[in-house]
């Protein structure tokens, strides 16, 4: 990892002309192996980055050149409501997911090997299961005659079905179910690495167990918590399938609005502007997050 060591050299000698510095040259040094990266880079630039740039430019040029599309979002209370709703659902999902994932991951670290295996499988099965199938199953659960209402009714808890499907409560119930694995996995990965003897140490020094937990254990879980929060929040912002199935017209999210604008009214420029807005929020959040934790590790660290 020589590039890590190069940084201070630049800082201590800022006035040298760039080309005179050995670190500059070694940074651009390359070997034959790196040529193998070329096919992927070209492929992604053509198939992935170029379309994003096209979308960006379309948001300023279609149907007319200028900021009209962005102004249309800003000036219509309906679209502003969709944006507000998107953030409300994303924040609500993130908070609820964290509240459920934290104790779950903590129990995983305490459980016997058998129960830990059961708990891991319970996280991994939905993680691998089709988003579409899970959302469909949630429709079956949340309907007026669905599993949840039937169960509550037969237990005598409720007299008439709770309004879940097509309501905010249903969307949140579903979104949390979908995002839970993305919070549990990084939290568990962090918690597994925490030395529980630190808790004993705090208690032996006179801290009550609850205080020791709050002041010693919880701060140590911060990297996992932060990774979970960012992963869940970013995904919740961009989901289309789940809110479109579980929500009603009252809680449309930005993803649905984009698809609607393209498929029903063919307003490509406007949809592109919404896309740019969503993309920029996602990238800003990631940029903030990557200052604190190694996102690469958590994005890919499943299993």
């Amino acid at each position: 990892m020589s590039h890590v060591l190069e940084a201070p050299v630049e800082v201590t000698a800022p006035k040298l002309p760039k080309s005179a510095k050995p670190p500059w040259r070694s940074r651009f040094e390359t070997n034959g192996w790196s040529l193998l990266l070329l096919p992927v880079v070209v492929f992604l630039l053509v198939v992935f980055i170029a379309p994003l740039i096209m979308m960006f430019s379309k948001s300023f040029t279609d149907p007319t050149v200028g900021l009209d599309n962005y102004r249309a979002i800003w000036e219509n209370s309906l679209y502003l409501k969709v944006l507000k709703n998107t953030f409300v659902v994303a924040i609500g999902t993130t908070v609820l997911t964290l509240l459920i994932a934290f104790p779950y991951a903590y129990l995983m670290t305490l459980a016997t090997p058998f129960w830990r295996a059961v708990m891991i499988i319970a996280v991994l099965v939905p993680f691998w299961t089709s988003l579409l199938v899970r959302s469909f199953a949630l429709v079956l659960v949340l309907r007026d005659t669905g599993a949840l209402n039937t169960a509550l009714d037969s237990m005598g808890v409720i007299d008439e079905p709770l309004p879940l499907l097509r309501h905010m409560s249903g969307v949140l119930f579903g979104m949390v179910q979908i995002t839970l694995p993305f919070a549990v996995l990084p939290l568990y990965a962090t918690m597994r690495g925490i030395d529980r003897r630190l808790l004993q140490a705090a208690e032996s020094l006179g801290a009550r167990p609850s205080l020791a937990f709050a002041k010693v254990y919880v701060p140590l879980t911060m990297p996992g918590m932060f990774a979970g929060v960012i992963l869940v929040f970013i995904q919740a912002l961009g989901y289309y399938i789940t809110p479109a199935l579980l929500g009603g017209p009252q809680n449309t999210m930005i993803g649905e609005l984009i698809v609607q604008q393209v498929s029903t009214v063919l307003r490509f420029g406007f949809a592109a502007a919404l896309g740019v807005l969503l993309l920029v929020s996602t990238l800003v959040l990631l940029a903030i997050a990557s200052r604190f934790v190694d996102m690469k590790k958590y994005l890919m660290g499943q299993s």
């Binding site: 992927v40 379309p51 939905p126 089709s130």
Partner: protein, 263 residues
């Protein structure tokens, strides 16, 4: 409680898919396989399943070839712009699929690539390639390069070294990456909604329209089927691990017996 909540889709869809009723009540009153039969007898379902299969297989192949090359380059190479490159390689996982779908649709519409196998394969390869890269790169990092150098010092060329020494050693991570790639493509619905049309529709998009229009019990059957595939691949993965483990212990024991060691 949370375990039940996490497993909810499996717990609900599987009994529902065997329901005898046309209205999907829970719990089902009588069981039958009629929705599975209807599924098999409906040519449109089979057709979109074949489309999905073709797209998924081709995308997996492309993603694995590109991904293995890239992983080798990443792990072995010295190259500039590390940060930017990593960001580019991970971007397809981070950018919401709605945006990818929209952006690609805008371009593909102009180029006549919507509703074509090529169009689907291009998008799905881009979405799947990061998973292959990460899996294979992590496999390569833990692989002892000395073995390659040994093979080459014994006169093996670079290509035969790769296929006879490197590849067998990273095969498990390549397989895991390929599985990720396959499932990514097989399951992908958001960008496929943009690219699909009457001429060509993948299975998830077909399911999606089934779910959107009405709560159709055939969808419960296809969902049940999907879950069986997932659970099956889980078991297969577990079984492969078990087999590999038992072969290894068997070898160790045999080796121990021949040289008279205790382990």
């Amino acid at each position: 409680m949370t375990i039940a909540y996490l497993l909810l889709p499996v717990l609900v869809v599987i009994p529902m898919s065997f329901s005898d009723s046309a209205f999907l009540q829970f719990p089902p009153k009588a069981f039958s396989t009629r929705w599975y039969e209807q599924l098999i007898n409906d040519p449109t379902w089979i057709e979109s399943a074949l489309v999905s299969l073709r797209v998924a297989v081709l995308s997996t192949i492309c993603a694995v070839v590109l991904g293995v090359l890239a992983a080798l380059g990443l792990v072995r190479g010295k190259y500039p712009f590390r940060g930017a490159l990593t960001a580019l390689l991970l971007a397809p996982v981070i950018v919401p699929y709605v945006i990818v779908g929209l952006a690609v649709y805008i371009v593909f519409l102009k180029m006549g690539l919507t509703e074509t196998t090529l169009g689907f394969v291009l998008v799905h390869t881009a979405l799947a390639v990061p998973y292959v890269i990460i899996n294979v790169a992590s496999g390569l990092v833990s692989f002892d390069r000395g073995l390659e150098l040994a093979a080459q010092s014994l006169g093996s060329g670079p290509i035969s070294t790769f296929f006879r020494v490197t590849f067998p050693n990273i095969a498990a991570s390549v397989f895991a990456g390929a599985l990720f790639a396959f499932i990514t493509s097989w399951d992908e619905v958001v960008s496929a909604i943009f690219l699909s049309g009457p001429e060509m529709t993948t299975l998830p998009v077909r399911i999606w329209s089934g779910v959107k229009v009405s709560v159709d019990p055939t969808v419960a059957a296809i969902s049940g089927l999907t879950l069986f595939v997932i659970i099956g691949s889980f078991l297969l993965f577990g079984a492969m691990k078990l087999i590999r483990l038992s072969i290894r212990t068997y070898r160790h024991r045999n080796a121990g017996a021949t040289i008279g060691a205790t382990s």
